[in-house]
């Protein structure tokens, strides 16, 4: 061991990171799809990559699974460099957006597939398949049905069981809930989180749905134009976004011109719509009110600003009304790049 030299700053994180991407770039021809993406996912964490379609999030997931080889950069799983490892030797469970269940096999057969490939005995395979189908709460009546006889939600459970049954190092989910209707989506989202907690599998989910991202994630990566713009706990990203893009990716963001006392230049501050309260110096007229059930969103136009205010305190605002709003200084976030 060399006794001199500074310790590598990544040495510590490499040990605790289940997934580590360093400067991963990928593109078809001249158009870059991923631009030097670096992400470290702690072991056992549930990470969501959030971004609009075309931002490169699915490509990033396929790079992780080994379906796409990056043009440059390295991928480590549990400290091991797998950049050149083919998908079948990566030990990664992947749930496709359309589930990609084998149509010629039953639910049981689909889940048994990865175990049979690994030459695991019949009895053990049977036991593990049944335990996993139980865990994802597919009722035993469905176990011997083919995918075409199962509903979308049931197919999703089978796909999840198949991706977890061989105890992979990492679970990757490509918009797994996108093809389901809303109520089922919310139910399966919670179940996904429960199963992930029970198995402790490091998980990376890709979605364009911010509610989904908030509901399940320990960490959130906001993607835009082939980059991970910000990575961190959801609340931190929601309250302290690094850019306007990130601020807008996570719900409504009021971007208002600001002035910092003691500094000459103006700045842009972000205030979330629920942070305003009646009684303050921001006076404006309400131009639109949208009812959302639990609360209402009101558009307020002032002398030199437009903002959206989320409120549920009675009396609810009405169009044409003049309001004066205030905000706690702690709820005002100055965008670093403004």
């Amino acid at each position: 061991m060399p006794s001199t030299g500074t310790p590598s700053p990544t040495a510590g994180t490499a040990l605790s990171s289940a997934v580590e991407l360093s400067a991963v770039s990928f593109g078809y021809g001249p158009t870059p799809v991923l631009r030097a993406v670096s992400v470290a996912v702690p072991a056992g964490a549930f990470v969501t990559l959030l971004g609009p379609s075309g931002c490169g999030k699915t490509t990033l997931l396929k790079v992780l699974a080994g379906y796409i080889s990056p043009n440059s950069g390295t991928i480590r799983l549990h400290g091991q460099d797998v950049t050149a490892t083919p998908p079948e030797r990566r030990d990664v469970g992947f749930v496709f957006q359309n589930y990609a269940l084998f149509p010629h096999l039953t639910a049981r057969g689909n889940v048994a597939f990865p175990l049979e490939i690994r030459g695991i005995s019949k009895q053990e395979t049977r036991a593990r398949v049944e335990a996993m189908l139980d865990r994802v709460r597919l009722s035993p009546a469905e176990w011997d049905r083919h995918p075409r006889e199962l509903s979308g939600g049931q197919q999703q459970r089978v796909a999840l069981a198949r991706a977890l049954v061989f105890d992979p190092a990492v679970l990757l989910l490509d918009e797994p809930l996108a093809n389901l209707d809303r109520s089922l989506r919310e139910q399966l989202r919670d179940e996904l989180r429960r199963v992930q907690r029970e198995t402790g599998t490091t998980t990376v989910l890709v979605t364009h749905d911010q509610d989904e991202a908030f509901a399940v994630s320990d960490y959130l990566g906001v993607m835009h134009a082939g980059r991970v713009e910000q990575f961190g706990p959801p609340r931190e990203i929601y309250e302290r976004p690094v850019s306007e893009t990130v601020a807008r990716a996570l719900g409504i963001a009021n971007l208002l011109p600001g002035e910092v006392v003691g500094r000459r230049l103006g700045t842009t501050v972000m205030i979330r719509p629920e942070k305003f309260h009646p009684g303050g110096s921001l006076a404006g007229r309400i131009t639109a009110v949208r009812f959302h059930g639990a609360d209402v969103l009101a558009d307020v136009v002032g002398e030199n600003f437009n903002l959206t205010w989320r409120t549920r305190t009675a009396p609810l605002p009405a169009v044409g009304e003049i309001v004066s709003l205030g905000v706690d200084p702690a709820d005002v976030w100055e965008l670093p790049d403004s």
């Binding site: 083919p86 990566r90 992947f94 084998f102 490939i117």
Partner: protein
Amino acid sequence: MNRLATLPAVALAVGVTAAPLLFLLRVSLYESGGPRGFYTPDTVTLSHYAALAEAPILFTVAFALAVAVASTLFGLALAAFVESLTPGRQWLAIGLLLAPKLAGALTTVFGLQRLLPRGTVAALIAEVTFVLPYAVLVIALRLRGIPPDLRSAARGLGATRRHVFRRVTLPLAAPAVLLAFQLSLAWGLGAFVGPLFLAGPGESTLGTQIQSHTAELRWPVAAAEGVLLLLLTAMVFALPRRRGHE
């Protein structure tokens, strides 16, 4: 639906298929007419069917099975190869496969005559050359219909390329493979050009037998053999059909 609109199709089916078949059946039940006609009226007999015991049924069936097995196996291998190519090259490969068809059966046969000694093997190769494009097309079309995600999913679950082929691609392509086998078998039963020009002396199939009987103007004998050939072919398509998995 408009019944009148189906009339041309019905007329075609009756005129081109059913009527000649009925005539064939009728001719097979009479004594030969010699040079005067297809048959001699008022001489109903089953003797031509009794004589079928002498017909080369076993050789024809064995030959057809060999054609079918070879075409299906090569067809599967070639279809898998075509499927692995980029789309542009897929068309090139299919064009090359169809080249013998475009050149015509006789060109192929004369070419093979130069290359191979006469015998069963040469006849077999000729017939496989004729059927192979159909087998490849039938299987390749099915392979194209298998979503690529299924193969990716299988690999992600730990399957090597060989595993993927055996456990995903092949079971999903099974209905097409069976259809390719049936088509090749039906074609092989009617094998005529290959055996006629390339088979060894004394090797004849029902097809070549029919040809030589018509050349001798023994129409009823040829007709009885024709009926037998039709029955054999019909049996091939009566084999159980496998449904797809969609």
